[in-house]
């Protein structure tokens, strides 16, 4: 009796916590509301299953608890019931997988007009690089990384001379324009993570990885590192400022180019 009651309370309490507690995802600031929608669908399906399973268990514990004279029913198999349950489960799984794969396809297919930008992780800071007027990012080589060239740009590459480089400062993005983020690391794994954008991806030394998104809300957002990268992992922070096109242009105008930065230190 008490056991059945506690089981019911566990199920009901879980649902109540889900609905009433103040802890929920942060308001979204990118186009990935599809992801939020898929999570919501998954919550519904799994929530129903959880309550049904625990509820049924509580019922059994209540109804079939040992009492004097009770004898269990001996029934080794029940083909029909088993097939029926298997099919129902497969349908539920398909109902979650189908939207999941559909949205994943969107997630890994950047639109043709996305602006390419680069984010570089190193222990324990973020740097950013934007293409200049030529619209192209210059070549890089990790072997060239040095105190004056933290991102390892190839000095001879003309495409790189006008690249905008942001170090140890906030990064800015214009609202409403899709960006394809190219991710690079010069030392260990990192992961560029802004909870409001819902997207994240590891950065791997020696490779370039990517994800894409469109900022949909202006504001300042925290950047965190989401892949353990040594003892400074938790303090590897940054900020992204999403602003209107005009504000963004004004900010961009004030940024330094690779050629300038290299010139200054020489």
């Amino acid at each position: 009796m008490a056991v059945a009651l506690i089981l019911v309370l566990v199920a009901v309490g879980s649902v109540a916590f889900h609905l009433l507690s103040p802890w929920w995802w942060t308001p979204i600031a990118s186009n990935w509301s599809y992801i939020d929608a898929t999570i919501t669908v998954t919550f519904w399906i799994t929530g129903v299953v959880f309550v049904a399973v625990v509820g049924f268990m509580a019922y059994c514990v209540f109804r079939f608890r040992s009492t004097p004279g009770r004898r269990a029913v001996h029934e080794p198999e029940n083909k029909r019931l088993e097939v029926w349950l298997t099919v129902a489960t497969a349908l539920g799984v398909a109902a979650m997988l189908a939207p999941g794969l559909f949205v994943w396809h969107l997630f890994v297919t950047p639109p043709a007009d996305a602006t390419e930008i680069e984010i570089i992780g190193q222990q324990w800071q973020w740097s950013y690089r934007l293409p200049g007027e030529d619209g192209r990012l210059g070549a890089v080589d990790t072997r060239l990384v040095s105190p004056d060239n933290l991102l390892g740009l190839v000095p001879g590459d003309p495409a790189g001379r006008d690249d905008v480089i942001i170090q140890a400062d906030d990064f800015h993005l214009p609202i409403g324009r899709p960006v394809k983020v190219l991710l690079r690391s010069v030392d260990v794994l990192h992961n560029f993570y802004v909870p409001e954008f819902r997207a994240k991806m590891d950065m791997i030394p020696g490779s370039v990885t990517y994800f894409w998104f469109t900022p949909t809300r202006t504001g300042t957002f925290d950047v965190l590192c989401a892949e353990l990268c040594g003892s400074g992992h938790a303090v590897m922070r940054g900020r992204v400022v999403v602003q209107t096109a005009e504000e963004y242009q004004a900010w961009l105008g004030g940024q330094r180019r690779f050629a300038q930065a290299a010139g200054d230190t020489r």
């Binding site: 399973v53 268990m57 222990q123 994240k200 965190l224 003892s231 938790a234």
Partner: protein
């Protein structure tokens, strides 16, 4: 129709396997220390695993103190924090759960449940334990080595794991990798034994489809471990070489803190594939024995046959096979080729189907049963709740795009603790309360057992259920403190403090369990040979605790499947597997239709 699975009677084949020669102990040392008796080895494995598990438990307290009350315990610096979570995670998964299920339960139960006198290679079996103990000692040594244990996270991802930004890169990581290699070597010796014993040493009449699900679970998990651990082994050897002699298996060209290191050309992602090729099956290496054991607990204590035995066996085997083609679901945001996501999400969600079947069958075993709510049964119920909860959140993380925002957050930590931390631990406790009478001849105290259960179950649920929501909020894992962030409300700190307090209480309740183990050894009620009135062979031994060689002069002969509970027409509500009387006919059992 169902003769295959539950046929009574039938032909018992003549003994084909000659009786084995048992090595006989001479004196105290070879009886209790260098014993070749699987039962003693099983107990040695279990006690060692529980001892090192206590270390991991204390580490979880320290982790929780830091997370619940940041800036209060200043001795827990970031470096120490990373060392704590790494050692906590690795100990729990490998040195506690794997060792306890396979080395502990496997050794004790396989020969007894199959009607064998011992494992087929007793000497190798003994060696397996001593190598395991050495692995544990090497691991413990890293706490005392200069620089301390490694803080690379239990996943040990390179390049970070062997570079200077990570604590324990001097000795810690080397000892960790060495210890893992030793563990795998030791496990392989035991594992081969379990497999050969199951295939070759079953007593007459014990067909594969009459084995208790406990044996099916442990057997399948062992086969999986024999296939999965080698991937970790090569990964560990390669990383040792990268660390010690400067090879570059996993190390690309890189510049650390402005210094160009002499590595180049290796692939960090390759290690992740090797690690998870082991790591995902590892989840099931822990889960399948738990599935098996819990099936037997539920059937025995609900006095009802396990529902859908053949389906249960096939589900175990299918889950075991499928779990080798889902590993990269741990790598959706690792930067591997995005198209892998489609494949691995599909295989991962397909596994949910046989897993769900198992859950249904446990529930349907309870349904129309005669449920005795004793401590083993309570733990079995606790297992179902936590396993279903954790399995369902697995559907979030397996569904590739849903994993993107949740991966590497506290949601993941909550998920895997529920499904492979709490749920298997529930089964371990259930199993210990269930088999302790056979091992010692005395019952564990039920009152202490129930207090232990309720604090552990409700407490663990209260720790890990709300933790999902911290992850949903965006709190990353492996952060010793969240620090200044706009998106985390102050109330999250209160939740963290609450979780930490509950974690301390739950940890303390485990001391009650240890006390119960020790106290009942002398003061527990005498149990007799078969206190639960169970059908399987281990309860039918001539002596309790079973003597060396398990059986008297004659091995038992098996006449039926292990789940003849409440058979209509039978006098008792259980018919032991070795009872020949075929009294209840097929028709009477409602099978022949």
């Amino acid at each position: 129709m169902s003769e295959l699975a539950h046929g009574t009677g039938g032909l018992i084949p003549a003994a084909e396997v000659p009786e084995m020669e048992l090595p006989h102990p001479h004196g105290w040392w070879s009886t209790y220390v260098f014993s070749q008796d699987a039962k003693v080895i099983g107990i040695q494995y279990s006690l060692t695993a529980i001892a090192i598990g206590m270390v991991a438990l204390v580490l979880s307290w320290l982790i929780r103190l830091q997370l619940g009350f940041p800036n209060t315990f200043t001795f827990i610096e970031p470096q120490a924090y990373y060392q704590f979570i790494t050692m906590h995670g690795m100990i729990m998964v490998v040195y506690l759960l794997t060792a306890l299920f396979l080395g502990g339960f496997g050794n004790y139960l396989i020969p007894l449940m199959l009607g064998a006198r011992d494992m087929v290679f007793p000497f190798v079996n003994m060696l397996s334990f001593w190598v395991y103990l050495l692995a544990v000692l090497v691991l413990v040594a890293s706490f005392f080595a200069p620089g301390g244990p490694t803080g690379a996270g239990w996943t040990l991802y390179p390049p970070q794991a062997i570079l200077s930004g990570t604590p324990g890169r001097e000795w810690g990581i080397v000892l960790m990798l060495l210890s893992l290699c030793l563990f795998i070597a030791g496990f392989t010796m035991g594992g081969l034994n379990y497999v050969v014993t199951v295939l070759q040493a079953r007593t007459r009449g014990m067909t594969l489809m009459r084995m208790p699900l406990t044996v099916w679970g442990i057997f399948t998990a062992t086969v999986m471990a024999l296939l999965a651990f080698p991937a970790l082994f090569v990964g560990a050897v390669m990383m040792l070489l990268d660390r010690l002699i400067g090879t570059s298996f996993f190390m690309p060209t890189l510049v650390e803190f402005g210094e160009r290191l002499r590595y180049g050309g290796g692939s960090p992602i390759l290690f992740q594939h090797l690690f998870w090729f082991f790591g995902h099956p590892e989840v099931y290496i822990v889960a399948l024995p738990a599935f098996g054991i819990v099936s037997d607990l539920i059937s025995t204590h609900a006095r009802r046959n396990i529902f859908g035995y053949r389906m249960m066996v096939w589900a175990i085997v299918i889950i075991g096979a499928l779990s080798f083609i889902v590993w990269a679901h741990h790598m959706y945001v690792s930067g591997m080729h995005p198209w892998f996501g489609f494949f691995f999400a599909t295989t991962t969600l397909i596994i949910a189907i046989p897993t769900a079947i198992k859950v249904y069958n446990w529930l349907l075993t309870l349904w129309r049963g005669n449920i005795h709510l004793n401590t083993p049964m309570l733990f079995a119920l606790g297992f179902i709740v936590t396993f279903v909860n954790g399995g369902l959140t697995g559907l979030f993380l397996g569904n590739v795009v849903v994993d993107v925002p949740l991966s590497d957050t506290m949601f993941v930590v909550a998920h895997f603790h529920m499904v492979m931390g709490v749920a298997p631990v529930m089964v371990i406790y259930g199993g210990i309360y269930h088999w302790y009478p056979k091992i010692t001849g005395r019952m564990l105290d039920e009152t202490m057992g129930k207090i232990h259960f309720w604090i552990t179950f409700l407490g663990a649920y209260a720790i890990f259920f709300p933790m999902h929501y911290l992850g949903l909020l965006g709190v990353p894992r492996r952060y010793h403190e969240i620090g200044e962030t706009a998106f985390v409300p102050a109330s999250a700190g209160d939740l963290n403090a609450f979780i930490s307090v509950v974690a301390l209480v739950v940890g303390a309740a485990q001391m009650l369990f240890l006390f119960n183990l020790a106290w009942s050894l002398r003061h527990g009620r005498a149990s007799g040979p078969n206190p639960w009135r169970a059908t399987t062979l281990e309860w039918q031994t001539p002596e309790t605790p079973p003597g060396h060689g398990n059986w008297g002069p004659e091995l038992p002969v098996v006449h039926r499947w292990p789940y003849d509970y409440s058979v209509p027409g039978a006098k008792e509500d259980f018919v032991p597997q070795n009872q020949p009387d075929p009294s209840p006919s097929h028709a009477a059992r409602g099978l022949a239709t």
